[in-house]
Every structure is written in structure tokens, then in C-alpha cells.
Amino acid sequence: MHVEGNILIHAPQSDVFDFAENVELLTQCIEGCRNVHELGDGKYAALLEAQIAFLRMAFKVTVELSRVERPNTIEAHIAGTPVNLVGKIDARAGLTLEPAGPAETRVTYALDVSLAGKLGGMGESVFRAKAKEYGDRFAVHLRDAVESKLLEKAP
């Protein structure tokens, strides 16, 4: 499944880029992503707890930046397995940064997610419905985090 969306961030492109290429900061913008720790070679492990209404799923995932091209492009690869359920999640997330004004950046996200096992065979429709919501919330969190970081930096 593929979802995409975009958001306007009141911050210069380089600040947004600095933030987004930091996996530990970036993953804070993903809801339910915790216990992020570096495994080496730019790879990180994390626990992703997704709550879809009353359905709660936990995934053990690895996150790595598969492409980093300043100033426009950051791509991450997130792969993992659900806890206590046979399955697999494989997501490729791309961020495209474009200047939208003197201190404004338009961030477009594109998320390609494939699910296998029970999640893919039975839960696909609800995940598909929720992916867009997750993506949009990620974008909002990213904007808020970048903008508040900028405020901290401001004298």
C-alpha cells in the first residue's frame, strides 16, 4: 500500500534536514516508536507500538536511513516483525524537502508499506485505512518538533 501527504514547516530547509537525518529525533515523530537504540552501521532497533482503535500491535523493527541526499531527500527503511504474531512489516518512507519561502519548507512524505502473515492476510483493509492517518500524524509531529526545536534555539 502507498500513502503520501505533505506539510508546511516554518523552518529553513537545512534545519528540517538536520532534524530528519537524525534517526533518534526522527523516530520520535512516529507514534508509538520507543526504545530506539543504535545497532551500529547506521542501523537502529526500536519497538513500534501501534494502536488502531482497540487493536494494539507491537512490532520489533530496525530502522536505517537508506538514502540521504542533502538538501532534498531522506529515505528510511523500516522492517520488522509483530510480537506474538507471525508476520512482517516492511516500510519504505521517503521525505522530500523543498523550500517554500525564506524560512519555510514543504515536506512531502511517501510511505510504501507491505505486510505479510496474519496482518497482511486479514488486517490489510484496516491498516490501509490507518496508514494515511498515521502518515499525516507523523507529518504534524515532525512539524511541531522541528518548529519547537527552532524556538529553543532562538535567543
Binding site: 494502536q51 482503535a53 482497540f54 487493536l55 494494539r56 506474538n84 485505512a129 492517518e133
Partner: protein
């Protein structure tokens, strides 16, 4: 399936006390037709289920009050709604909708409360309840409150009910003599498939003019929603089908359908257009 705790309280108060506002894996269950599938698939792994099967009284009753409002208890099975003479008289569109809602085995077991509170956008009655201006009575530890059907559905599998609240009844207000309603559903695969698009329309009309209309769409969208632009487009217009086209066009523009195996976003948008028109025709000719 992993073992879980099953409670079978004998009263509504007892049932509410067993709910846990902080734990989504504690869940009430009535007919269980939807929840059991999720459990068998391992998607939902409850720690505790609160079965409502021992609850009696108004929860299982269909009646009309002194104002002519139709009260439907949350534990009324869908087959009882389908066959109830009271429902047929006061809300004929509900009876008709129930006839093609799932199959007779499911209708005998599934309840109105479960059908609504499950929050699955593919259910047939929610858009009709919105169109009919229905209200839901929710009961929780802090007492009871009323929720308009239009505000009840907040997302995929999500309703405005708190985790420690239970749905007690749905009330459909007495219809005015100049009003009528209809629900049309479109299934993309087999006839008994989940709908790809469901549209409900309730219109009030006088002398060939639509005074107002409530339109709601489900299944194509992540939750049942009112079609405000389409409603505005039809208000004050004649009941000729030409004016329905404008409402249908407005509806197609205001929805954001989700793509799935039953159809792409673009196709479902077209089907919203077609079925808004068909629902309006059906409602204004019933």
C-alpha cells in the same frame, strides 16, 4: 487463540464496572460475530471479554414512546429489527436495510449495539441512523449521556463511546409526515459482500420541493459521514432527478474514498456519485 478472562455480568451496572477505561484489550461482546473473527485471526488478543448475553430488560426491547420516538435496545438482534412490525411502521428503511445486511445466521446473533459500537465503516445501519437523526444513549460510571448518530463514529473501529461506557439504546425520532428515507448499498464483488459504498438519504419534501435532506455515506470512507455539500445542493430544489445530479456531484467532490480490493479511490468516488442520486430518488419516491 490465547486464553482470556470471560465475564458474564447479570446487570448493566455490573458490566460497566468490569470495563477498564485504560485497557483497550478489555472489550464488551454481544453477538460476537465481528470480534470472534478478529480473535481467531490473532488481530485482537483480549485480556478480558465482558459478555452481555445475560443482560435483560429494555436492552432487548423495541418500543415506541409517547412522543412517537422508536427505541431500539442495544441487545436487540438484527433479525428482530428486520421482522419487528413497530420498526416496519416507524422506520421502514431500517427493516428493509436489515434484509440484506449480512445473512440470516449473522442477523440472528449480531445485535444492534454491536453493529454500531464496533465502528466498522462497512456496517449498513450507521449511515441510515445518521440520516434518520437517531441518537444513542450511552451509559457509564458517571451516568448516561446522549450522542447524536452523526457524532458517534470517529474513525475506523472507533466511536465516541468511552472505554467504560456501553451503548444502551438507539432512539429514532418520530418521523414527520412529509419525510421519507432510504438506504442503498453497492457491493462490488458478490451480492452479499461488504458494501463498497453505502448511502442513506432522508428527505422532507412538500409539493415537489425538497425542504431539507440528510445524506450520509459509509463503506467508501473510513467512517460514516454526513455529506454537507450535497445536502446544501439539494435544499429547496425540486424532486426531479435533474436536481439530484447536482447533489451527487457535490457528494463526489466532498468524499475521500479509501482504495481497497473492492475498488480504487477514483471508482468509489464515481459510485458515491451514482448512489447518492439513487438514494435520493429512492427516498423521494418512497
Amino acid at each position: 487463540m490465547i486464553p482470556f478472562d470471560l465475564q458474564e455480568p447479570a446487570s448493566l451496572a455490573e458490566a460497566i464496572a468490569l470495563l477498564d477505561p485504560d485497557d483497550p484489550s478489555v472489550r464488551p461482546v454481544a453477538g460476537g460475530t465481528a470480534l470472534m473473527l478478529m480473535m481467531k485471526a490473532g488481530l485482537f488478543q483480549p485480556t478480558r471479554l465482558i459478555s452481555l448475553r445475560r443482560l435483560e430488560g429494555d436492552l432487548r426491547r423495541v418500543h415506541v414512546d409517547e412522543h412517537g420516538d422508536l427505541h431500539l435496545g442495544a441487545l436487540v438482534p438484527l433479525s428482530k429489527l428486520e421482522l419487528s412490525p413497530l420498526v416496519a411502521e416507524h422506520a421502514p428503511a431500517v427493516s428493509e436495510t436489515c434484509r440484506t445486511l449480512s445473512n440470516v445466521r449473522v442477523r440472528n446473533v449480531a445485535t444492534l449495539g454491536g453493529h454500531v459500537a464496533h465502528g466498522d465503516p462497512h456496517m449498513d445501519l450507521p449511515p441510515l441512523l445518521i440520516a434518520l437523526g437517531a441518537r444513542a444513549r450511552a451509559v457509564g460510571p458517571r451516568g448516561e449521556r446522549w450522542i447524536d448518530a452523526a457524532d458517534l463514529f470517529v474513525g475506523y473501529y472507533q466511536t465516541a463511546l468511552e472505554r467504560d461506557e456501553l451503548l444502551a439504546e438507539i432512539v429514532i425520532p418520530a418521523p414527520s409526515p412529509d419525510s421519507s428515507a432510504a438506504y442503498v448499498k453497492f457491493t462490488a464483488l458478490s451480492a452479499d459482500d461488504w458494501p463498497a459504498v453505502g448511502v442513506a438519504a432522508a428527505v422532507r419534501r412538500r409539493e415537489g420541493v425538497i425542504l431539507d435532506a440528510v445524506l450520509a455515506v459509509s463503506a467508501a470512507t473510513e467512517k460514516p459521514i454526513r455529506l454537507a455539500a450535497a445536502e446544501a445542493a439539494i435544499r429547496g430544489k425540486s424532486t426531479s432527478s435533474g436536481s439530484f445530479d447536482e447533489a451527487a456531484e457535490a457528494a463526489a467532490h466532498e468524499v475521500e474514498p479509501l482504495a481497497d480490493i473492492r475498488g480504487s479511490t477514483a471508482y468509489k468516488r464515481e459510485m458515491v456519485r451514482v448512489h447518492v442520486r439513487r438514494a435520493l430518488i429512492k427516498a423521494s419516491h418512497s
